[in-house]
Symmetry: C2
């Protein structure tokens, strides 16, 4: 029950749902999510902590950046089931389509990591 409620509470905030859907099929660092949602970094960090504690996302640290991704498929059915449900029923949401569009710009513009690599090359 505790795990169940942690998941449903994690899913009961619009910004956390937007984050999870943005993480579908790609990983993102905190600053990219911050730019997408236009929230304070501390706020996004708190959201990521809640999602992480609910076992809905995993993270890896790469230099200064922390990249988050959806949990892997072969996770326990409690988590896998609800992520599948979310993705299947939320695909055509207006806000999420806007996010997907904005994410393209954020990714095309190049992440800071890429810009730093460019600087190295110059």
């Amino acid at each position: 029950m505790r795990d169940f409620l942690e998941i449903t509470k994690a899913l009961s905030d619009v910004n956390r749902v937007r984050i999870l859907m943005a993480l579908n099929k790609r990983e993102l660092c905190v600053c990219q999510i911050t730019e997408l949602l236009e929230l304070a970094p501390s706020t996004v960090s708190k959201h990521m902590s809640i999602l992480d504690h609910a076992r809905l996302v995993e993270s890896r640290k790469d230099g200064r950046w922390v990249y988050y991704r959806l949990v892997s498929e072969e996770v326990k059915p409690l988590v896998a089931g609800v992520i599948e449900w979310m993705i299947e029923n939320l695909g055509d949401d207006k806000i999420l389509l806007q996010d997907d569009h904005r994410l393209k710009d954020i990714l095309d513009k190049g992440c800071l990591e890429n810009r730093n690599s460019m600087k190295k090359m110059i």
Copy 2:
């Protein structure tokens, strides 16, 4: 998104989850749910209103009593999917097993409707 969040918010309270699981396979009136959860009738009524607004339950009025049940199967997949997920992953929860046991007593003791019927028969 609005429907989605109404559902996840409805599912993010332990007493509402207990209500939904109690309604699995049987309908219950508000006073029976009140007895099960040991909450004030006004509190239970509020919970039922939230579950109803999220389209997770349906109700019928019979005399003084309002009976609630889980929504029918052939409801839209957004709702059907999450109810299935909840039932499949919450079956062996400790609190819910206790509730199931207590519900037997509540139902065996006879609902007020039955007692009224008995009075008619005497």
